[in-house]
């Protein structure tokens, strides 16, 4: 089996700050994803990557950057955190683009 590790688990930032979330997977999966989870809105796709150095925008990419420098890692940057923003960011991976997704435990963001 494998595991997806997200760091940090909790992140508190200030308005306007640039904040970075990291995700590591040891499944050797090709495809990785970042989703944002808000209460009542489900999971919304921010960015995904089908291979190293590839980036694909999702439905909620504005305000975010992503980086896939290695097959095993995928990072997400909030370019300017918004005050009162609170959400959980979930990283996932899969082999191919339609199979089962394996998720990390999430990173909870709070902006003061």
């Amino acid at each position: 089996g494998g595991i997806i590790t997200q760091t940090p688990k909790f992140l508190i930032g200030q308005e306007g700050q640039k904040l970075t979330l990291k995700c590591q997977q040891n499944f050797n999966h090709d495809t990785m994803y970042w989703y944002r989870q808000d209460s009542g809105k489900g999971l919304r796709l921010i960015y995904y990557s089908i291979t190293e150095n590839d980036l694909q925008k999702g439905d909620l990419s504005e305000g975010y950057d992503a980086s896939r420098e290695k097959k095993s890692s995928f990072s997400l940057t909030v370019t300017s955190a918004q005050k009162n923003e609170m959400a959980v960011f979930l990283c996932a991976s899969t082999q191919g683009n339609t199979g089962q997704l394996y998720f990390g435990e999430g990173s909870k963001l709070t902006v003061l």
């Binding site: 009542g40 999971l43 796709l45 997704l101």
Partner: protein
């Protein structure tokens, strides 16, 4: 726009009862439909999935139904247990697009 719509937003059932969650989708090219289960503090985990070539898949107490013509799917949980209390997400994808998720249903099973 919401590509996958899910209802209800929350649901309470008694232990031993049957739970029914429903989803609908827009894109007729979607061909893979998983359901994920999420407990507090954890990431979602695959519960059951179905391909568009099938209309029913069963796994123990969990059954998912798929109606291609109406672009709808559902998850049925029979003999619901307190341990089934969680948030459930339906999702849809195809070979060319990343999975899109519904808004989720928070299920509470009362003993």
């Amino acid at each position: 726009q919401q590509q996958v719509r899910q209802s209800p937003q929350s649901l309470t059932v008694w232990e031993g009862g049957t739970t029914v969650l429903t989803c609908s989708y827009e894109d007729s090219t979607f061909n893979y439909f998983p359901w994920y289960q999420q407990f507090p503090g954890e990431g979602p985990a695959l519960l059951i999935s179905i391909l568009s070539v099938s209309d029913k898949k069963e796994d123990g107490r969990f059954t998912t139904f798929f109606n291609k013509r109406e672009k709808k799917l559902s998850l049925h949980i029979i003999d619901s247990q307190p341990g089934d209390s969680a948030t459930y997400f339906c999702a849809a994808s195809n070979n060319n697009n990343a999975p899109r998720f519904g808004a989720g249903t928070k299920l509470s099973v009362k003993p």
